[in-house]
Symmetry: C2
Subunit: 250 residues, 2 copies
């Protein structure tokens, strides 16, 4: 437990990818899930579930999907799931099978509920001195992940969250300055944009340079450019898999 | 500022819809935006923007969309926006127009980045003793909201967040018990579900009964059932509007 205020802790957020062998106590896991459950929710839907992946074989499979070996290593692995299946089940048991649970509106409400819960859990974990990494990489192959976790119709994996006792102390990653992110009354991005990002590009370049001489040393805008055309094959199938799970059909 | 721990505060979260006339100081707004900017982000994309709606006429329009008069009242109104436009702009200025920024994968990454930032901001605000309400209701008419905020292609509104000094003290809303939300290794919802929810139904019924005798007194499962078939006309158009903004086309 640190003496930092909540905001000091949030401003000092850094992703932790290496955890010590000390497990996260079950009482802490329960407390974190309780925080997740108490997150704000759209229309009181509580449209998410969370799966603790404790089976080492499944962790290995998920690490392979994520292409991140550390996912299978120390640390507690949560997978947060957008869930309209629960409501469908309640409706079916009450004789009501017609619904819009798979519609775009309801799907995005579930995605929001789920993601809000992820962030709330992350802040809670960090307040206890735990390290966290939010894993979008588990979506590299959504169909396989759905199969591993036996996710039924009207559910979909949103984000993973691995939590453990930190075994590294990375640098703070520099964020876009406020004027590129925060506007008043209307959307107003500075234009032309790239020249105005030159200073931030230099800051990001220096961050990578200091972080690890073995890895890319890049600017922010070069990274943006390099990512534009990237779309791994399985990632390109996401809409198909969403349709298969019953989502985004209306 | 309270003496509560971060987790105590999170477990005590309640939505505040009435704020006093005392404005939120600009320094606090800047601090909250800084917290939003330091939220975890997928692949360092930082794929969100936030718009402070300070124009009273615009606040009125948004309150009308949300059908919540309090949105136009006291309190600072943020609208958080999923943003792949910034990257498109950077790419265009670097001579690269081809991209997958509107694809389902990138869209959902942006939606996640945005929602994570909303929750981080909410926790930060509450840690200062501020009250908050997350507004999914601003999506009741997304096209109109897009027009009001002049949101360009490859952006989309995700959630509103109103923040102010609390002028009410609502009851804590009871959440689904852990066993309906948290599973191990595979998705395993208890079945049949509804009988097992009887106790929670009673708790929710009592909550509404105590809260306000003028409003519905309902169980959780009855609410779920009643919502299943609900889909206001404009909400049903969300996928069309997403396509119009350039999203979910692949």
């Amino acid at each position: 437990m640190t003496a930092k205020s909540t905001i000091e802790q949030q401003l000092d957020h850094r992703t932790i990818r290496a955890f010590t062998k000390q497990p996260v106590a079950p009482a802490i896991i329960e407390q974190l899930v309780s925080v997740a459950r108490h997150t704000a929710t759209s229309n009181f839907q509580q449209a998410f579930s969370v799966i603790s992946v404790t089976d080492p074989a499944k962790k290995e499979q998920i690490a392979a999907i994520a292409k991140q070996p550390y996912v299978a290593a120390n640390g507690h692995l949560f997978v947060f799931v957008a869930d309209q299946h629960r409501d469908q089940q309640i409706g079916a048991e009450m004789g009501k099978t017609e619904n819009h649970l798979g519609g775009t509106d309801r799907f995005l409400q579930a995605w929001s509920d789920t993601t809000l819960a992820v962030q709330n859990t992350e802040v809670a974990a960090e307040s206890l001195g735990l390290g966290t990494v939010i894993l979008g990489s588990i979506l590299n192959d959504t169909q396989q992940l759905i199969d591993i976790l036996a996710l039924p119709q009207l559910t979909f994996p949103v984000l993973g969250l691995a939590i453990g006792w930190p075994d590294q102390k990375p640098q703070l990653k520099p964020r876009l300055p406020e004027r590129f992110v925060h506007f008043e009354n209307t959307y107003q991005l500075p234009a032309p944009l790239r020249p105005q990002l030159a200073e931030y590009d230099a800051v990001v370049h220096q961050y990578y340079d200091l972080r690890d001489t073995n890895r890319r040393v890049d600017t922010f805008t070069n990274q943006v450019k390099a990512r534009l055309a990237l779309q791994p094959e399985k990632r390109a199938e996401m809409l198909t898999v969403l349709h298969r799970q019953g989502f985004l059909l209306e």
